[in-house]
């Protein structure tokens, strides 16, 4: 069949728009990831054969689910050696009410089931990320391996193991009950944010951003918001959009890192800022607004500021206070200290940073030393600035960051 064939194009388009939904439902019906993937491919193969003859069905998704299901039952029967358990499974699959997959709601539930199962806390964080990108986002194993700078066989092995654990330990294919939702949603949000950060600020390698992963994380968050508009889901989508809006301004043409206060704000993506800000306004009033929504609110204050000096630093310090109450981590303390330095001057910020470093927290955190160096530089304490930049330099693994610190060090010598 020619690739330009209109039916072929239709099948491709349906694959792009529906394959994840069909897969999510087939996993529920067949109770097994591998069987569902095989059935999905069989269903699309059948579509390529039958749709040119019989026309495109009115509801392609229902057709594909049905076709996949029957192919799977066929497969079980053909394997002959099936034990009573398989016969029972086949019977169960066969009696499933066809209305169940023509209906919109259960289908969307299936997509949520798939997300929550891939992000189940009984799977390792690495496996959660790999499985989510593979099953929910339809990235290939090779694409995921490349994005995470991991050998493809390692990644494939990770996915195989995760699927085996889901099957053998009976991780249920379900949306968590309301009482379990906060914890389980956290795991999903963590996966999304990890994917985003891997794309946005690769912790190693020469590129500052790996666009595909950030885009994938934003797509995933959009899906989550559509299916489950919890305040923290809105919050994480807003946070990622607001960070992503600065993409074009974050690095120079030669790939050099540009800090927030030196960025050309006309390069910021206004559309993303508008959408992010709207989401923050939706999320913030809820009493379930959490760390992601607050961080998004902070990013929104930056986004609204015409210049670095024109930023409402008091508002930002206030939001960090709220954040620190929710999550009293030293990294949040560090960010708060930087905001205090902007509001009250570098000396005030330095006192706070030295207190955090004095407690031994963040001793190996490159950004803590870089922030200290910057405040010392602004106070004219050149020797202290140099020591802290040098410490940051030994801790960074990211090439553009290294060059940035080296530039700062060179400027100190002038």
């Amino acid at each position: 069949m020619e690739a330009t064939d209109p039916i072929h194009e239709t099948v491709n388009a349906v694959y792009l728009s529906e394959s994840r939904r069909v897969l999510a439902t087939l996993i529920r019906l067949l109770g097994d990831f591998d069987a569902a993937e095989e059935a999905l491919h069989d269903a699309f193969r059948a579509a390529l054969e039958q749709w040119p003859r019989e026309g495109v069905p009115a509801n392609p998704r229902a057709w594909l689910v049905s076709a996949g299901r029957f192919k799977a039952i066929d497969g079980m029967r053909r394997r002959k050696r099936f034990d009573p358990l398989d016969e029972e499974a086949a019977a169960n699959i066969a009696v499933e009410d066809p209305a169940a997959w023509a209906d919109q709601e259960p289908v969307e539930d299936d997509r949520l089931r798939l997300i929550f199962t891939c992000c189940h806390p009984a799977l390792s964080p690495d496996a959660q990320v790999a499985l989510t990108l593979r099953e929910v986002c339809a990235l290939t194993t090779e694409e995921i391996a490349q994005a995470f700078l991991t050998p493809a066989p390692t990644l494939a092995q990770r996915i195989v193991r995760a699927k085996a654990k889901i099957r053998d330990a009976h991780i249920p294919y379900e949306v968590p009950a309301r009482t379990d939702l906060p914890g389980r949603l956290d795991a999903v949000l963590r996966v999304i944010y990890l994917v985003f950060n891997e794309g946005y600020a690769a912790s190693s390698g020469a590129e500052v951003t790996r666009h595909d992963l950030s885009g994938e994380a934003i797509r995933l968050a959009r899906l989550l918001v559509a299916l489950l508009p919890e305040p923290e889901a809105l919050g994480i989508l807003a946070l990622m959009l607001l960070h992503d809006s600065r993409r074009a301004a974050r690095a120079s043409a030669s790939g050099e890192l540009i800090l927030l206060d030196e960025q050309d704000r006309s390069l910021w993506n206004r559309e993303q800022i508008a959408e992010g800000t709207r989401l923050v306004e939706r999320a913030l009033p809820s009493r379930d607004a959490g760390p992601y929504a607050i961080q998004a609110a902070i990013a929104a204050v930056h986004a609204e500021a015409p210049t670095a000096d024109g930023t409402d630093w008091a508002e930002i310090v206030g939001l960090y206070d709220v954040l620190a109450r929710m999550d009293p981590s030293p990294v949040i303390g560090l960010n708060r200290a930087v905001a205090v330095a902007m509001r009250d001057g570098p000396a005030a910020g330095l006192v706070l940073i030295d207190a955090i470093l004095g407690r031994g927290d963040l001793a190996d955190y490159r950004l803590a030393h870089a922030a200290r160096a910057d405040l010392c530089r602004r106070l004219g304490r050149t020797a202290d600035a140099r020591t802290s930049y040098e410490r940051a330099l030994t801790l960074t693994k990211q090439e553009p960051e290294r060059r940035f610190i080296e530039r700062r060090l060179a400027e100190l010598s002038k």
Binding site: A122, D168, A169, H170, I171, P172, D180
Partner: protein
């Protein structure tokens, strides 16, 4: 679906949870039909490891692997899925002092 919940504790914490509490937990699980079997174990110093090599039995003192935490007891439970098994495991009193490893039981395929 059966799960074995293996309770691990550090030696000095073996008696941190009163026996009474463990008994009550077992009774509760048995009454709700979840529990198949449960026992607490003597400390690891009483363990003997048995191997058969070339038909010859060898026994050695102690456990197979030395770790900080030792196996202190087990609960064999019946649960619908891993979520339910984890819920049961989280109610086992020693979980707050040590840790509980939840392992699905593999049905033998003779």
């Amino acid at each position: 679906m059966k799960y074995l919940c293996l309770v691990y504790m550090e030696a000095e914490k073996l008696h941190a949870v009163p026996d009474r509490e463990c008994v009550n937990c077992g009774v509760g699980l048995r009454d709700s039909g979840v529990l198949i079997a449960a026992e607490a174990l003597q400390p690891v110093e009483t363990a003997t490891t048995v191997r058969v090599r070339n038909g010859k039995v060898s026994i050695t003192d102690g456990p197979f692997a030395e770790t900080k935490e030792q196996l202190a007891g087990f609960y064999l439970v019946e649960a619908r899925d891993l979520n339910e098994a984890v819920l049961v495991a989280s109610k086992i009193p020693p979980a707050r002092e040590g840790s509980v490893e939840v392992r699905p039981v593999r049905e033998l395929n003779p």
